[in-house]
């Protein structure tokens, strides 16, 4: 699905990613953990195509294509989805209009016909139940006045609508209450197939009780310094990152 090799990236001359390697195959769930400021969101932004970052070294292959050659919108159209850590508000643009535009642009890129208004609305109803999103939110402006939890649910709802190959969830669990966490995690699980893959960025093992990862990576100081199975998350929960920092420093 995606293969990242020796990725170096910087912003304003400051190097944030310092030789990162990661490979994700179809059907897998990878969790990325790591202390604040380690570069997790930076990695997500770079994969999605944010232009402020300068890639100084390394390569990213996505479904056999050179990801770095693709524009932001083409990456999305190729099936890469980012659930934002801080979803953005767009006043005056209804969620429905936004999603319809998005879906139709993606379909057009793939040479498919746009959905009729009727089929689209049917799909909206179906998919919003996956994350138990209040149907009223669909008609409100994108994320405007949404509670923190509603914003996160809305991200997963969009993911359900767009059916990506690779979904990157950046701290989708933060700001969710216990029930919402379960609902959102179950939603993500329902969307899981052997053909797609998921990268889950989180600080808490709790989420991984629901979304069970095949691999857990620790990102520290711009590199993946440790990889393990889901048990690694439990150890991190208990011991924190200090022991990893120490071993990484050597």
């Amino acid at each position: 699905m995606i293969k990242i090799e020796n990725l170096h990236a910087s912003i304003d001359g400051k190097e944030i990613l310092k030789g990162l390697n990661l490979e994700v195959n179809a059907g897998e769930v990878h969790a990325i953990m790591g202390p604040n400021g380690a570069g997790k969101s930076t990695l997500a932004s770079i994969l999605a195509g944010r232009e402020e970052y300068e890639i100084t070294e390394g390569s990213i292959l996505f479904e056999g294509k050179d990801l770095l050659e693709l524009s932001t919108e083409d990456r999305a159209r190729e099936g890469l989805f980012l659930a934002f850590q801080y979803p953005v508000e767009i006043p005056g643009v209804s969620n429905i209009n936004f999603l319809r535009t998005s879906l139709n642009e993606i379909k057009e890129y793939r040479g498919e016909n746009p959905l009729s208004a009727k089929d689209f609305m049917k799909m909206v109803r179906e998919k919003s139940t996956i994350v138990e999103l209040d149907s009223k939110l669909a008609n409100r402006s994108v994320n405007v006045g949404f509670s923190g939890g509603e914003k996160k649910r809305n991200e997963i709802f969009q993911m359900a609508m767009l059916d990506p190959k690779l979904a990157i969830l950046d701290e989708t669990d933060s700001g969710l209450d216990i029930d919402a966490l379960r609902i959102v995690a179950n939603g993500v699980n329902k969307l899981k197939t052997p053909q797609n893959a998921c990268i889950v960025i989180t600080h808490y093992q709790r989420l991984l009780d629901y979304i069970v990862p095949d691999f857990v990576h620790v990102l520290f100081d711009g590199k993946i310094v440790k990889t393990g199975t889901k048990e690694l998350a439990l150890i991190l929960e208990e011991k924190g990152y200090d022991w990893i920092k120490e071993s990484a420093a050597v």
Binding site: T72, E73, N97, F98
Partner: protein, 482 residues
């Protein structure tokens, strides 16, 4: 009937036979350049005007000579030389281009992007006489419908000849000849425009559009419009069109007067898309317009404007809320790009008791442009319990453009309630990135965000007009984020 729009009308008539297949050979007839009493007498006599019309003009000219061009607006431009202008050239040539091939390709492209059919494009650019005649036949059937209801909708010149009492009674009552430099000039030299009268209790069943008015030809340099809604009547009036309008005349100084008698309502919508000049700021139209309406008891006037064109725009559609319980509204989107300058806003003059006004202004500045909102809310001594709500938002698309807000409030009645809100924001890289991460192209994303930002104003426009205005906004801002 209620939903019968011009578009449908046009569709209905599309397949109809060509009824008025005559072509008049038009001779051009131009006055010498410059402005003097003689020129004004010439204009008046060419138009076969009655004595009172001539004295109105001469009177205005006397006033104008003593005035100086206003300088308070936040715009900079080289002042026109008023002795270098030709004030009379008529009948206005409808045929601007010899053939379709002569039409500017850039203009064709823009019209295509707006989704205007080829036929319509040719009509708008005034190429083929057939198409112009086509619209005449459409307009004729349109007029039949109005006539049944007693609605008058004709050119200003026709009104002077055919309805002199109405013109005499109302012309200059809302915007006196002494009002301002450009209005005085217009009063002295205007050549044509539109006239509209809705009789008592009549609800005009379709949007009246200058687009379908016979003899509209090209829009005049000094246009004059007078709309009178008699007691209890309603009219929605559309001015302009979304196709790019080029004009060899640099200075445009129009006057629009609206009169809403007791319980009447006038909705006046404008889409202004005059040539803004090129990317380096060369050329472009100076648009100095005076628009004002007066509301009698329980009457309502609503101005909606989408301003995307002109090199310099100076325009303040205003309401005099004279009658008790009258309502004034102003909804505006003003877009400036490249080197365009706009100074626009409104005046709400509250004279009557329980009068209410709403101002929603959305400025969008891109490139190196300057966009100013200038508004006055004036509550007079006797305007008990009056209310105003103003919201002025500015959206910046680049680091080099400017947005300015000049709200003036004069309140002489303590029972009044005035609320003012203002925001300035820069189009978010984050918003754009969010849209693009969902597969939406940058161009579409800008249009989505901008249309969302202008929604409250666009919602005020009649449906088809709103759709076209949305596309127009997108085109005006193409490639403008930076």
């Amino acid at each position: 009937m209620a939903n019968y729009t011009e578009n449908e009308l046009a569709k209905d008539l599309e397949n109809q036979e060509y009824k008025f297949g005559f072509v008049t050979d038009i001779e051009t007839d131009k006055a010498p350049v410059g402005l003097s009493e003689d020129i004004i007498r010439l204009i008046s006599s060419k138009k076969n005007e009655p004595e009172w019309m001539l004295s109105f003009r001469l009177n205005a000219f006397e006033v104008w000579k003593k005035m100086t061009e206003p300088e308070w607006a936040h715009v900079h431009y080289k002042k026109p030389d008023f002795q270098e202008i030709t004030y009379y050239a008529a009948p206005k040539q409808t045929k601007k281009y010899e053939s379709w091939d002569d039409v500017d390709p850039e203009m064709k492209e823009t019209m295509t992007k707006l989704g205007i059919s080829l036929e319509e494009q040719q009509r708008l650019s005034g190429v083929a006489v057939d198409f112009v005649m086509d619209s005449v036949s459409v307009a004729t059937s349109f007029k039949e419908k109005l006539k049944e209801l007693g609605i008058i909708f004709c050119s200003f010149s026709d009104a002077v000849q055919e309805y002199p009492e109405l013109v005499k009674k109302y012309m200059g009552t809302v915007i006196p000849t002494t009002d301002n430099f450009y209005a005085s000039l217009n009063s002295a030299v205007f050549t044509d425009g539109s006239f509209c009268y809705i009789p008592k209790g009549i609800r005009c069943p379709m949007e009246l559009s200058t687009y379908f008015r016979i003899n509209a030809g090209g829009t005049g340099q000094f246009e004059r419009t007078l709309v009178i809604a008699d007691e209890g009547s309603y009219v929605s009036y559309l001015e302009g069109c979304t196709a790019p309008q080029r004009d060899e005349n640099q200075l445009h100084a129009a006057v629009v007067e609206l009169i809403a008698l007791e319980n009447a309502e006038i909705k006046y919508s404008t889409v202004q898309n005059w040539y803004p000049g090129n990317k380096q700021g060369k050329g472009g139209v100076f648009n100095f317009v005076t628009k004002r309406g007066i509301c009698e008891r329980r009457a309502k006037i609503s101005w909606t404007q989408v301003e995307t064109g002109s090199a310099v725009t100076w325009k303040y559609p205003s309401c005099i809320l004279k009658g008790d319980y009258s309502v004034g509204e102003f909804y505006s989107v003003a877009v400036t790009n490249n080197y365009q300058q706009a100074d626009t806003g409104t005046k709400m003059i509250h004279l009557g008791k329980h009068t209410k006004s709403t101002i929603i202004s959305k400025g969008i500045s891109a490139g190196k442009s300057q966009n100013s909102y200038r508004g006055l809310v004036q509550i007079h001594k006797n305007a008990q319990q009056s209310r105003n709500f103003s919201q002025c938002d500015s959206l910046l698309m680049s680091d080099q453009c400017g947005a300015h807000t000049f709200p003036y409030i004069e309140c002489k009645n303590p029972s009044a309630k005035i609320e003012h809100e203002a925001t300035t924001s820069k189009i978010g890289e984050d918003q754009l990135f969010y849209c693009m991460q969902r597969g939406i192209s940058e161009e579409k994303a800008i249009s989505l965000i901008v249309n969302g930002y202008c929604k409250e104003v666009l919602n005020q426009l009649p449906m088809e007009f709103a759709v076209e205005a949305q596309k127009l906004l997108a085109i005006s801002l193409e490639g403008s984020v930076g």
